[in-house]
């Protein structure tokens, strides 16, 4: 098919206009998933580090670090992602007028990734903060008894335990981050040359054919596939993080439906 890589600009230029076949819808919506995966993976990978920083900041004794982390989390968790996208897009547009250096920010590829990155950092930061607070007291006392201090203590005791405790919730966060990527092209960021994500194409077909019963189930199929992949990957990591624990203490992964951002 000519539409397999359409969403990144390779292949047939014109989208189908008449005589929509099932095959076309499948390929085009599937090709849109490239964007969803791109946004999700990039934001998650970068957001992982910022979220740990934010969690440590919120747990810090220094009031400046604590307050700024709290405000960061409040702003990004307390407002809709949809509005954040709009605001960021128009803010980037005004920046563009200041200097052409900011040009790439107005594209979805960079600008939306930044918003998603900050957003997921705030949500995951809260998750990691919760895990940090629930590290068993005994673990930290044992670290003290061994004379572990500072970075070494963080690296060997605090960080692995925090990660292990937070992992089920973090998996959930990852899944809903992928779902949130569907908002990008509906919130200001333009789909340049009709290179959009899966939902963009699905709604394109629904608009053209007036029949929502084909494209949206296809989209649902792809997203369920993506969700299952995320669960498999994160489940494997979870098994590695908990491999030293006896079987019955290992936390089970539970998917909680929540978080429309």
């Amino acid at each position: 098919m000519d539409y397999g890589l359409r969403s990144i600009g390779i292949g047939e230029r014109l989208l189908p206009r008449t005589d929509f076949t099932l095959c076309q819808q499948f390929t085009l919506i599937g090709s849109g998933m490239i964007w969803n995966i791109y946004f999700g993976v990039l934001a998650l990978a970068a957001g992982f580090f910022l979220s740990i920083t934010v969690a440590l900041g919120k747990a810090a004794r220094n009031p400046v670090a604590r307050k700024s982390a709290e405000w960061f989390i409040f702003i990004f968790r307390g407002s809709p992602l949809f509005i954040q996208f709009f605001f960021a897009y128009f803010a980037f547009l005004s920046l563009k007028q200041v200097s052409p250096i900011f040009d790439p920010l107005t594209s979805a590829a960079l600008g939306a990734t930044i918003v998603l990155f900050l957003n997921t950092s705030a949500y995951a930061g809260e998750i990691f903060f919760g895990a940090l607070k629930s590290i068993p007291k005994g673990d930290l006392e044992a670290a003290d008894a061994y004379g572990l201090m500072g970075w070494k203590r963080f690296r060997r005791i605090t960080f692995p335990t925090m990660l292990r405790l937070a992992w089920p919730a973090y998996t959930n966060e990852a899944i809903f981050l992928f779902h949130a990527t569907a908002l990008v092209f509906f919130s200001g960021f333009p789909a340049w040359q009709q290179r959009g994500d899966a939902l963009y194409y699905a709604s394109y077909f629904a608009d053209k054919t007036f029949n929502p019963f084909v494209p949206y189930p296809i989209l649902a199929f792809y997203f369920i596939l993506l969700t299952l992949t995320v669960i498999t990957v994160f489940g494997a990591i979870n098994r590695r993080l908990t491999r030293h624990l006896p079987q019955e203490y290992r936390p089970r992964m539970r998917l909680r439906p929540m978080l429309v951002r």
């Binding site: 407002s79 809709p80 509005i83 709009f86 005004s94 509906f186 699905a202 629904a206 029949n211 929502p212």
Partner: protein
Amino acid sequence: MLEVCDDPQALAGVQWLTCYLTSGKHLLFYQSFGTVMLLLLVTAPVSLAFGFAGAGAARSRVAPLRWLGKGYTSIVRGVPDIAFFLFFVIALDQAFEWLRHQVKCPDWDAPIRQGSDFVVCAQAKLPLSSSPQWVHESYGFALAVLTFAIVFGAFAANVLYGAMRSVPRAQMETAEAYGMTHRQAYWRILVPQMWVYALPGLSNLWMILIKATPLLFLLGVEDIVYWARELGGSKTARFSDFPHGDWRMYYFGALLVFYLLLTRVSEVVLDRLMARLSHGQATAAGEAQRKATA
């Protein structure tokens, strides 16, 4: 409109801003905040009812009803909710028109789906093409409410189903020991006790609902996002009495602040409500309250 504002060109500074912010379109913008609050207030109870029905069905002893309830509670798990919003709005609209078509035009023989068109007879159109503008608007709004209620009902069903299961088993056993029927035990024992278990989940849901309201824009309702885009875009002196550059950033900044305030206020109120509901309950929160006063 204020009288000073009759000649906008002559104004400057604060006065210009006051006149600008009280222009007719801005009043519509302020009204749309009302639309959002109305949506919240209508959707919350309706989706709670949907959720209650869904959770009840998921616990049912009749297998098909149980499958229906379980299916409903799990539709929201794998797929982005925005896809549901976009799907249900069209699907519901077509379903209503199709039903009316079946009732009002039984002797219509042309197929309804003709290629890329969805054709029903003129009497079955919703709303009727002859009806006034406000009917069109409120029909759009009602569709949006129903869509929100279906999606959030599924979320709520999940929460309530979990809450029903966290009511201590001994309570139900006691009810059975007293000879209550299944129905009596459900309404008199289970339902009154489950709310305290459900409240954390439901308050979470309320926050999510608040944050989902800007999606109204995608459903074609003229809400705050619509007006912020409309009013913020740059205006030249030819088309507007109040020419200005691209101010959409400031408008969306204001929306951001609005939502932050709304979530903050809800957080405080829900915390108070939780404290009140936990009072005297055999839960950790209730126990903590007892210890604090003792």
